[in-house]
Amino acid sequence: MRFASRAISSLALGALVLALPLFCDAYWLDVCVSIGLYTLLALSLNVILGQAGIFHMGHAAFFAVGAYVTAILNTQAHWPIFAVLPAAGAASAVFALAVARPIIHLRGDYLLVVTIGIVEIVRIALLNDMGGLTGGANGVFGIARPVFFGFKIVKSVHFHYLVWGMVGVSLALFHSLWNSRFGRALNCIKEDDIAAECCGVDVARYKLTAFVLGAFWAGAAGTVYAAKMTTIAPESFNFMESVIIFAVVILSGGSQLGILASSFLFIGLPELLREFSSARMLIFGLAMMMMMIWRPQGLLPPGRRRYRIPGLSGAGGEAGG
């Protein structure tokens, strides 16, 4: 029953997203692409922040590494975009491993400010044209369009399907991750890391793995972003960007549906407020406060984990998250 209703709602949502280009003009289609990108980023941050409960406010750094690796490999070494995608993800993952390794044991807010520091360091490094590759404040331009089995992805519609296709794949993967041994271990760490440690969960290693996995996904999202924009600059990866991804995850409550809803709200709302022009960010800030006061637990917190225990009579046992 649960499976069936879940399948139906996923299909309905998928159909809705597929049909979006029919209702949108070019401008709103770009907004949809942007929402898709933020969904990807939020899903990847959710592994770290939502599932493992690590206070990570520096996701834009991993996004930036992915985007810049893409840009550099594509413009300098002329790798096609889809060949760069795994490389960009891997570069972000390696970067995450290197920076997270020494700091992973820091507690809550100390980790939070260190991750903010990482975003700033990455942004300054990019701005100062590190290694003569990042192009300083102007960034890198002339990134090629991706070619998918001979089909060149140029228009917003194409990118819409590319991004949302990736979102679909990510949703499926992260859903099974959530239900895996790994997902349960992360949850356990989030609820109480000392108890987790006592149960034999290698807390530092799981946290590090969550970081690396989230960073890989953010790096891949960076590739798509670079290919869509064809020009990237350090200012696209500032602290504010990290804050928005962070806020999307917190407002979502942690479930996948919540992340979709909260991405639409966060990225769509400023666009809807466009007619207020200069006051729109003011209203946006106010809305952020009001939404949190209205739903402190987030839009859609994930339901309790349910398990079917074979051999048990009745509907099945229940185990708490």
Partner: protein
């Protein structure tokens, strides 16, 4: 050597400002375990209010010269304190029982709100404190001529910090603040009005932050609406560096960060100074995970 002394002085001046702002972060964190991201913007509001009072309201022309600065400092402090008080009521009190990160997002929203409010009221351009307000004199110390206004900023920030320390450690209200920071429930059982203490902290912290904003205007002359984020982030880093929740830690962290920043700007690279400051933070936290003066709280068992 001349350059070195100049840079140490600059470092202490900017460090004193960081420390004053960091006190607001650390005190709020102490009682609520909340990072008040809007605090940096309250500091920026202080800088703008100071300009308005001095120039548009022409207090500089009305009051006798000797009284201008103390009166303006007091007014800015009080006005920003009032905004901080209202902020806590509106944005944080409803989230007192919620998950900590929900309150953080509310604080981020408040920060965006304030920043854009300042931008809408004053415009997106930067403002300059007029020269006649900024006393330009040098003091000679051990044969080095040092900028007088920077010395004044250092003195003023040290004075405010000493006053705050005395208040926190010598008065009954200060003891109540410390008690709430240690254990809210126990403090409530001892008859302390926790809500009142939290409101008081939201008066003191932003008040100090607002005066720090005025100091930035007087010392560096130029203010803009994004200064809340840049200075706020540094001040918050200072608070963490010293051990968040710890008042002497915030002061030490601020001065240290200011010093690191100005020395690295002079001797390493101007463009990389912010990166070096954050790198220093990361290195110190790797060695001391709870900051320089932060106590190693025993993990619950």
């Amino acid at each position: 050597m001349e350059l070195f002394f100049q840079q140490v002085l600059n470092g202490f001046a900017v460090g004193g400002i960081y420390a004053l702002v960091a006190l607001g972060y650390t005190m709020v964190y102490g009682v609520l375990k909340l990072i008040n991201f809007a605090h940096g913007d309250l500091f920026a509001i202080g800088a703008y209010l100071g300009l308005t009072l001095l120039v548009s309201c022409n207090l500089a022309g009305i009051l006798p010269p000797l009284f201008v600065m103390p009166v303006v400092f007091l007014m800015v402090g009080l006005l920003v304190a009032l905004i901080g008080f209202l902020l806590e009521r509106a944005a944080y009190r409803p989230l007192r029982q919620a998950h900590r990160l929900s309150a953080v997002v509310s604080a981020l929203g408040a920060s965006i709100f304030f920043q854009n409010a300042v931008m809408l009221i004053y415009g997106a351009r930067f403002y300059v404190y007029p020269d006649f307000l900024r006393p330009d004199f040098t003091v000679s110390v051990f044969g080095h001529s040092l900028s007088g206004i920077r010395l004044l900023v250092i003195l003023a920030s040290i004075m405010l910090m000493v006053m705050l320390s005395a208040f926190i450690h010598r008065t009954k209200t200060g003891a109540a603040i410390r008690a709430v920071a240690i254990d809210q429930d126990a403090a409530r059982l001892m008859g302390i009005n926790v809500d009142k203490v939290i409101s008081l902290v939201f008066l003191i912290g932003p008040g100090l932050g607002g005066t720090a904003g005025l100091m930035v205007g007087l010392c560096y002359g130029q203010i803009d609406f994004t200064m809340g984020w840049s200075y706020g982030l540094k001040a918050f880093t200072s608070a963490i560096l010293g051990g968040i929740g710890n008042i002497p830690g915030a002061m030490l962290g601020g001065l240290l960060l200011g010093l690191v920043e100005s020395l690295s700007a002079a001797y390493v690279s101007m463009a990389w100074k912010d990166a070096i400051a954050f790198l220093a933070l990361i290195l110190i936290l790797i060695i001391r995970p709870t900051g320089i003066l932060g106590e190693r709280a025993a993990e619950k068992l």
